[in-house]
Amino acid sequence: MSDQNSTSEHISSLKTSIGIWLALLAGTTLTVLAALVELGPFNIVVALLIATIKAILVVLFFMHVKYTHEKLTPLVIVSAIFFLFILLSLSMADYVTRLWR
């Protein structure tokens, strides 16, 4: 039984899961606190940076991507992010430059 399973699955350790959970809670507190400080245009940058770090922690540890042997999973994730980036950047390239003369 054990050698059948050891190749395909990872049982996440309690310590890691709780550590990630605490990091996510700390990230939430940090976002709220950072939003209350005047940083000019960097408020949104800091907010998105913290959100992205939290999202990466969830994907890698809670969604077990860090431990997967399936190489197609990271490929799917990276292409999803890539196409999202195309959607956002090309749309904004239009709206941001409309007033340029």
């Binding site: 039984m1 395909s8 939430t28 005047e38 809670f62 994730i77």
Partner: protein
């Protein structure tokens, strides 16, 4: 012919959950997982369209969005973020419990996830009710008369108010995005209700728990969407 039948026979005895068109348990599990990730990739594009609309209007109506954002309850939004993060942990613990073959623990963590999901939806419903009371729901009865951010310090005659049409656009996006997110939560709670029933009947074991794993991936994805929605909707210009 005989060897073929013997091979099929052996295949069937390995694990009752292993379907005949897969060579091994690992292949079957990887195929199910990849399918789930592809589904999540199209969910990224689905929510991406709304995030794109948000980005464009926030860029155009920045001050009005700041004013409208401050009508939301920061405390409730933060509590809901914490609730969702906790529910993600209970999902991780549910997957761990089924991997270790602990049925009662699995049912317990699944129930905890449902409970946290319902707490989230309850708080969201309370926030929506407040929006109806304040006439901040886009439509015929929408009314908005609030200052732009950082106008309170100015003498009354110099104060500038947010454009109600721009604020209405903010609330349209607010309801579209949090509404779609809440709909995903409702689906997730239903899914976990079904899984709890099946887990209670002993359907899942360390040899077969793909539905728990994939529902977990879905739940974590919905959590990630909220991780972005919270700062984007609740935390615009809060420092003023």
């Amino acid at each position: 012919m005989l060897t073929n039948a013997a091979a099929v026979d052996q295949h069937a005895h390995e694990n009752p959950a292993l379907l005949h068109h897969f060579a091994s348990e690992e292949q079957q599990k990887n195929a199910a997982s990849l399918g789930m990730w592809l589904f999540l990739a199209q969910e990224v594009m689905f929510f991406g369209g709304m995030f794109c609309a948000y980005l464009i209007y926030r860029y155009k109506y920045f001050g009005d969005f700041g004013s409208a954002s401050q009508q939301l309850d920061l405390k409730l939004g933060a509590i809901n973020t914490v609730v969702l993060i906790c529910s993600s942990l209970t999902v991780v613990l549910a997957v761990r419990a089924v991997q270790l073959g602990r049925r009662k623990e699995l049912v317990g963590w699944l129930l905890a996830t449902i409970l946290l999901g319902l707490v989230f939806l309850g708080i969201k419903a309370d926030e929506y009710a407040e929006k109806f009371e304040k006439h901040h729901v886009p439509g015929a009865s929408f009314s908005y008369h609030e200052l732009l951010p950082s106008q309170e310090k100015l003498p009354p005659s110099d104060r500038r108010y947010a454009d109600p049409h721009h604020a209405e656009m903010y609330f349209s996006l607010y309801f579209a995005m949090t509404g779609m997110h809440a709909l995903h939560m409702v689906v997730g709670v239903g899914l976990f209700g079904f899984l709890t029933y099946m887990a209670w009947r002993g359907k899942y074991s360390p040899g077969y728990y793909t539905p728990i794993e994939n529902a977990g991936l879905y739940w974590h994805f919905v959590d990630i969407v909220w991780i972005y929605l919270f700062p984007l909707l609740y935390l615009i210009d809060r420092h003023r």
